[in-house]
């Protein structure tokens, strides 16, 4: 015996082009919806990962000191302020602090970079504490320096590529004319570490004439600890500024919230258009089969049978369209990622569109819910058709 599902499928198959176009409309809406939900999820995950990749959640600097390499370069290597290395002891006493790592940033003018010269930047780090904070740093070649006073350098991937350096090669610090031996080249991380040249802290303090001084102290906070309380305590230290990466994250999230509202609005519009498409298709199909439905009723079909039949058609369209849309979103997630990356003011590294099982289920449920809602009116209308009037073709034509 032929089932209601088979009848519904056959009905859709009879008007293949119309059914396919509706299916495409639903698939596109599902694609937009799942991609945007994936973006919401992926952006935050990537941003968190980027911030975790910094290795520390808080940074202490002398007041007015630029806290990352790009700012330092923009300011032409000037504006660096220094604090005593002994600040580490004061910070380490706080129970919320798990680890600290001292950094000495240094910038020198290189007259032989471009037409009018440029800035070369160096990060003096303590290999043990720095690598513990950043366990994700992997070496493409070589290793960290073993001696804190050695004239050795570890280069980020892009810095090494620009300088065409390999392990065993030498680099020269302009102005100082001091040679360093490259002992390690890092894998690409997608962070500012890629463009950084790391040298041992003690060696950096010596050649840049900054004994016992640092520019930055990276702090890793213990898990589950309220970092705001720690921040308040650290603000009591004289002449320092605290940069909380949670604040940085919050600022970035605020920046993109407008973009998120815009894209979510587009998603809602796309879903509404698809909903109207479904209503149109099913309703047209009901009108076209007006007499047929009348005959079905004459031979014993109850209003609820007709209602179910029409609703199953909606169900088939929405399920297939939703699944196709999700497949499309999964296939095109890389392209979506590139497009979003192109338009956003700041995009973290890693996948920006993250589609997981939960999102897939939410999308299918949403598409199904909206589809079934759209099918309600046509199904109800079909269920109310009076057999005799339908066969005569008088009503609703």
């Amino acid at each position: 015996m032929i089932t209601k599902f088979q009848v519904a499928y056959k009905n859709l198959h009879r008007k293949r082009v119309r059914s396919l176009l509706t299916l495409i409309g639903i698939a596109l809406s599902a694609w937009v919806l799942v991609s945007l939900l994936g973006f919401n999820h992926g952006y935050e995950t990537s941003l968190n990962k980027d911030i975790d990749n910094m290795g520390f959640q808080l940074m202490i600097m002398a007041k007015g000191c630029p806290y990352e390499a790009a700012t330092m370069m923009l300011k032409g290597g000037t504006g660096l302020k220094y604090m005593k290395e002994s600040i580490m002891d004061d910070v380490a006493k706080e129970p919320e602090v798990e680890k600290t790592t001292p950094i000495l940033m240094a910038a020198v003018f290189d007259p032989n970079k471009g037409e009018s010269g440029g800035i070369a930047g160096y990060f003096g780090v303590e290999p043990k504490s720095f690598s513990e904070m950043k366990p994700f740093l992997k070496f493409r070649q070589g290793r960290w320096f073993t001696d804190e006073n050695a004239y050795e350098a570890v280069m980020g991937y892009e810095a090494a590529e620009l300088e065409q350096r390999e392990v065993g090669d030498k680099i020269l610090i302009p102005e100082k004319n001091i040679e360093f031996k490259v002992v390690g080249i890092l894998e690409r991380t997608g962070t500012q570490d890629d463009g950084t040249i790391f040298v041992p802290l003690r060696a950096a303090q010596k050649i840049f004439n900054r004994p016992d001084e640092i520019t930055t102290l990276g702090i890793k906070v213990r898990k589950g600890v309220d970092s705001t309380r720690l921040e308040e305590k650290l603000y009591q230290l004289p002449n320092v500024q605290i940069v909380s990466l949670a604040q940085v994250k919050e600022t970035i999230m605020k920046l993109i919230s407008t973009a998120k509202v815009m894209v979510l609005s587009i998603a809602i519009i796309a879903v509404l258009i698809a909903m109207v498409g479904v209503i149109n298709t099913i309703l047209t199909s009901v009108w076209e089969r007006f007499q047929e439905i009348g005959i079905l009723k004459t031979i014993g079909a109850m209003p609820q049978d007709i209602f179910k039949l029409i609703w199953i058609e909606t169900l088939i369209l929405c399920t297939t369209g939703g699944v196709l849309g999700i497949i499309l979103a999964l296939i095109l997630s890389r392209v979506t990622d590139l497009v979003i990356r192109h338009v956003l003011p700041y995009a973290p590294s890693g996948g920006l569109v993250l589609i997981d099982l939960k999102l897939v289920l939410i999308t299918i449920a949403t598409v199904l819910g909206i589809g079934l809602l759209s099918g309600l009116y046509p199904a109800w209308k079909a269920g109310r058709i009076r057999p005799l009037e339908a066969i005569r073709g008088e009503v609703g034509r």
Binding site: V17, E115, E161, Q164, R334, L338
Partner: protein, 233 residues
Amino acid sequence: MKSQSSLSWDIFKKAMVFAVRTTIWVLLLVLTGTTAAWSAVGCDLNDPDRDVARLFPESTGYKTVYVSIDRKGGEPLLAKIETRLGDKFRGIYETIDVPYTIYEIFTGKKKVGYIHGVNQKGQFGGIQVFVSLDLEGRIKAFYIQKMTSKYAGKLRDANFGKQFLGLTLKDFDHYDVVSQKASGKVEAIKNPAPEAEADFRAALRATKKNLVLMDEFVYLPQAVSSIPGGTQK
């Protein structure tokens, strides 16, 4: 004879197949393009508007085109370039997929020459050597954009660059980049910083590499027709 509905179904199927194929091609292009962007570093002028005007004073505009050995001819082209250079591409950065930026120089609508730069491993860092060439491949200007050396000032000096003016790839054919033996005009190029002999030799190798690449990308008859389009300023 086909019914109207089956005819429209056929058209629809063909359109769907076309759409799927196009999507796959776009995806492949995007994905391969992204991979290339992450794989190797090219050599661009730091400030093209300013540098083009300085290196090619008669220019009124330029167009930027990007070429790589990988896309232009693959392994056979690399082998040919290495043979003509007289040396293998070395290290982890001198690779087949390096994107080369060629600045096509115009006076009005007339093309008058090219500017092209290459990266070269130096003693203490990367060296970026640019040459501007007329349409016959003759060097009109020589410019070391970046060099790290105690003696970089001497090698970046205009007087050192002047020694390269008027030279062509033919002159460099007599220069062996491995044994560093030269004859003719290249032999006459004097090193202004004998203490930086390694960087001087690196600059000569970079110049020969630059000229060989330009010959393969632009000057050889088969190269002219296949140079890809770029952006004009």
